[in-house]
């Protein structure tokens, strides 16, 4: 049995079949001109819809931070002639799931329905998007909920560290702000602000739609108009500046009486449209994204037992790209974790990666691509992501060859370009010991929540 397995392991290094060849995308255009990408999947009687508007929390006016997020909490709190309770009951009676969210660059939503309820589901979505009621009692209720979420998050070292990282790194830019706002800014938001946001930013020119499930293009087309057809065609341009990480102290410590320090570390990265995107993806896979296989997990977790998890990931925002990482270690050994991470980053920057690491990362990235298509929601999300970055309707078939094309030189070049311990910026929440730098103490109050 053991002998047969080593044979099998060798056998399995052969190339993996093209992944998502089962995904056949059709572009559907409604009579009213609303465009969507559709993957038909008739085997289960449900439909999953994912969509977004290119206008997120970064567009929140100064002093009204949290506006987009508050809108996202209120769109299913009553629309048209249905007040909050009536609207919610209608969704439950039909087992329709409708959700909204606001990120930095996008306002997004999802809809999931049984096929038999699709007409009502799309109708209710249309109501929510184009005729939200914003009743005063619902506004106050959801406002209080947002404030309580802010308080809960301010109790979480990890969230505190992430917020402070963005606040320092992007000082002066909308990315520095909490998408959920502050207690003061959320208190300052009026009903007029909410109405203005929905009327201004939820427009058809900024809309991207992905649909998966038990529905044909002919059936979907008119329903797109029901959901999105009454939205305004265009919105005024919002100018958000391109940005990069500002000069900051290399380490900020936020004192909290917790036994384990939680660190967020990061450095300038690249945007999705950068020609080096796939080289960076492969590099980061080897550095810190590859689960138990990454260099950071090997050095920080497996060899030294310093943490339960250490990760890095590429964050390609609309107007800046960054590489972010996280680690959590008992206070007394935080300095050691930091030193090991810096050693790993430095080593990759100066010495690059090995041919074997490159091959392993590529087989993972190509082989695992299909795993991103394991449910209707997930596929709908992929359809939106591909459109967001304008990657083309044939991207799913082309994507793995783009990974395959990456060479050792590509990865080493991008590692040298991006990775540098001088550029690393750390925010550590806790009472860390053993940091080489003299830490500048900051009280929690001094940091944007």
């Amino acid at each position: 049995m053991i002998r047969s397995m080593s044979l099998l392991l060798v056998f399995c290094l052969a190339a993996i079949a093209a992944p998502a060849s089962a995904v056949d995308i059709k572009q559907v255009v409604s009579p009213g001109g609303v465009k969507a990408w559709l993957v038909e999947e008739p085997s289960i009687p449900l439909i999953a819809l994912s969509y977004e508007f290119e206008a997120g929390a970064a567009t929140d006016p100064d002093g009204k931070e949290g506006l987009a997020y508050l809108v996202s909490g209120l769109l299913n709190e009553g629309a048209g002639d249905l007040d909050s309770l009536a609207f919610q009951k209608r969704l439950e009676e039909r087992a329709i799931h409708m959700g909204f969210d606001a990120g930095r660059d996008q306002f997004s939503g999802s809809l999931k329905t049984l096929s038999e309820e699709r007409d009502e589901a799309f109708r209710l979505l249309g109501l929510a998007l184009s005729q939200p009621r914003f009743d005063e009692d619902a506004i106050e209720r959801v406002r209080e909920q947002v404030l309580s979420i802010q308080r809960r998050e301010s109790d979480r070292p990890r969230t505190v560290a992430s917020r402070a990282w963005m606040a320092h790194a992007f000082e002066g830019h909308p990315y520095a702000r909490n998408t959920k706002g502050t207690a003061e800014s959320v208190a300052a938001i009026t009903r007029d602000d909410l109405v203005a946001y929905a009327g201004t930013h939820l427009t058809r020119d900024r809309l991207i739609v992905g649909v998966v499930g038990d529905i044909t293009p002919e059936e979907l087309a008119p329903l797109l108009d029901v959901a999105f057809g009454s939205l305004p065609d265009t919105s005024p341009a919002v100018a958000i500046a391109e940005t990069a990480i500002s000069d900051v102290n290399p380490v900020e410590v936020i004192d909290r009486a917790v036994p384990q320090s939680v660190a967020i570390f990061g450095l300038p990265g690249i945007r999705r449209d950068d020609p080096d995107w796939f080289a960076a993806l492969v590099m980061n896979q080897i550095l810190g994204q590859g689960g138990f296989s990454s260099r950071l997990m090997e050095e920080v977790r497996r060899k030294r037992g310093l943490t339960y998890g250490v990760y890095t990931y590429l964050l390609p925002m609309q107007h800046a790209g960054i590489i972010l990482g996280s680690v959590a270690t008992v206070n007394a050994r935080m300095g050691e974790s930091k030193s090991v991470i810096e050693m790993v980053v430095n080593q990759m920057a100066t010495e690059g990666v090995t041919e074997k690491e490159l091959m392993d990362a590529k087989t993972y990235l190509t082989g695992s691509y299909a795993l991103n298509f394991d449910s209707s929601d997930a596929i709908a999300g992929q359809l939106v992501g591909i459109q967001r970055y304008d990657l083309g309707i044939d991207y799913i078939d082309a994507r793995n060859s783009l990974v395959e094309a990456i060479t050792l030189d590509d990865v080493n070049r991008v590692a040298a370009r991006l990775l540098s311990t001088d550029a690393l910026f750390w925010v550590i929440v806790g009472q860390p010991e053993g940091l080489e730098e003299t830490a500048l103490d900051m009280t929690p109050e001094a940091v944007a929540p």
Binding site: L9, P19, E41, D155, P259, G291, Y308, A370, D374
Partner: protein, 441 residues
């Protein structure tokens, strides 16, 4: 094929097929051809409730050490091999079970079954791997529990909810117990419980059931069964006194209030109430249309948000409860208001409209469940490993449909007794709370 492979009658909902190998291993296969991928899970009927005094966290520690190698796969290479083959893998431990899973391209199923069978029988733990991994688990406990007052408090509440049953113990273990776990502890536990006849393997995805059975024969089928000791679990005594726990922690800025009740599960106590309790949970606090939300949040304004839960799926006693974010300064008004809502349901029942709304969403959940291979593998594994059956899953729509208003009232009356409840109140330090109050005024 030597297996006495009894095939279950495929039903219309999930079309799950069940086989039992000669060595006692149970195999469940759900064919789902939508994408060329497969979820493979190995479930063991051993978890935190099988640990012994002073060794809490042992089942979970062993789960970590299961990645430390066999003769064929060196320490750390298990996940790397999966990853090199384009797959993802991980594991988790609960009170009743421990489970390992891989998501891979369908043509990699043979590899993962071979590797999982290999470590079912041939785990080797090098002594020099153990100390660092114990540190990893200690850091995991700090991440999940010690750094979070809410998680620390949940641990205390749980220990108060169950007086004797080992559900009172944290799966990850108490810190002082984790510090004392050894390689010998883990190996003894492994040798006792990890065997084909104590396992359920679930495969969901782009596969052919007959081929999966053949692969299972070829891999898991080669392992010898073991005599598994009978589970000896402390029985829960009658609960006689309502408990109220108050914890102050300076790290808390958002107070929280919870109430939980000991409740039947599908396998413990008056299990006929379990299905109606799922409906009751929806009606009580499952959404914004629920009784508690409409009363406490909308009408009275004494809560900001809330949610209820019911845990029916363990081998032992379940629990049903509600967690509430109080409105500022209103936490003292919550007990009376919650009690009034519960009393009203017990006295006056629920409406047909409420019943039907819940039943509709519970029925639809079965359709939505079919959409995720990983979710399905989880559902089948979780159900079968505790001794329930495929029929229990497949009959879900009929069981939901059969629930009546009277069933829900009877279930509520069975559960809502103060003496089997725990009220948990999580607050900032008293002086911090007063300071905050002062600042607000």
């Amino acid at each position: 094929m030597s297996a006495a492979a009894a095939q279950a009658v495929p039903s219309s909902l999930f079309n799950a097929q069940e086989f039992t190998l000669d060595n006692g291993l149970k195999l469940v296969v759900v064919e789902d051809r939508r994408a060329p991928i497969v979820t493979h899970m190995a479930w063991y009927k051993v978890g935190a409730i099988d640990e012994f005094a002073g060794k809490t966290g042992l089942a979970h520690f062993l789960e970590h050490l299961m990645f430390k190698g066999t003769e064929a796969i060196p320490a750390g290479e298990f996940s790397k091999t999966i990853s090199r083959n384009g797959g993802r893998d991980n594991a988790f431990t609960s009170w009743d079970f421990t489970a390992y899973y891989q998501l891979v391209a369908a043509d990699r199923l043979e590899l993962v079954m071979t590797m999982e069978a290999d470590r079912m029988g041939g785990l080797v733990i090098a002594e020099d791997e153990v100390a660092a991994e114990r540190d990893v688990v200690i850091e995991e406990r700090r991440t999940r529990v010690e750094n979070s007052p809410a998680a620390l408090f949940r641990e205390q509440v749980r220990a108060a909810q169950y007086l004797a049953h080992p559900y009172r113990l944290p799966i990850i273990g108490w810190m002082h117990d984790i510090e004392g776990l050894t390689r010998d502890d883990a190996l003894a536990f492994y040798r006792t419980y990890y065997a084909p006849n104590n396992a359920v393997v679930v495969v969901v995805g782009d596969v052919d059931a007959a081929q999966v059975l053949a692969l299972a024969e070829q891999t898991y089928g080669q392992l010898e069964p073991k005599e598994i000791p009978e589970r000896i679990i402390a029985a829960e005594p009658p609960q006689k006194a309502p408990r109220e726990l108050v914890m102050h922690d300076p790290r808390v800025s958002q107070p929280n209030w919870s109430r939980s009740y000991l409740a039947p599960s599908y396998l413990w106590g008056a299990s006929e109430h379990a299905m109606p309790l799922q409906v009751l949970n929806d009606i009580l606090g499952g959404s914004t249309t629920s009784r508690l939300y409409q009363t406490l949040v909308v009408d009275l304004g004494i809560a900001v948000d809330l949610g209820s839960w019911y845990w029916p799926s363990g081998v032992g006693p379940g629990s049903l409860g509600v967690g509430i974010t109080p409105a500022e300064g209103k936490i003292d008004a919550l007990p009376e208001a919650v009690d009034a809502v519960l009393a009203d349901i017990m006295a006056n029942g629920i409406t047909e409209e409420e019943l039907n709304r819940s039943k509709r969403s519970l029925t639809a959940a079965a359709v939505y469940a079919r959409d995720s291979g990983e979710g399905l593998a989880n559902l089948f594994g979780r159900t079968l490993i505790v001794g329930r059956t495929i029929e229990d899953i497949e009959s879900w729509p009929e069981r939901v449909a059969a629930v009546t208003v009277e069933d829900v009232i009877a279930a509520a009356r069975h559960v809502f007794h103060p003496e089997q409840s725990v009220t948990g109140i999580l607050l900032p330090e008293p002086q911090a709370a007063e300071a905050a109050q002062g600042a607000a005024e």
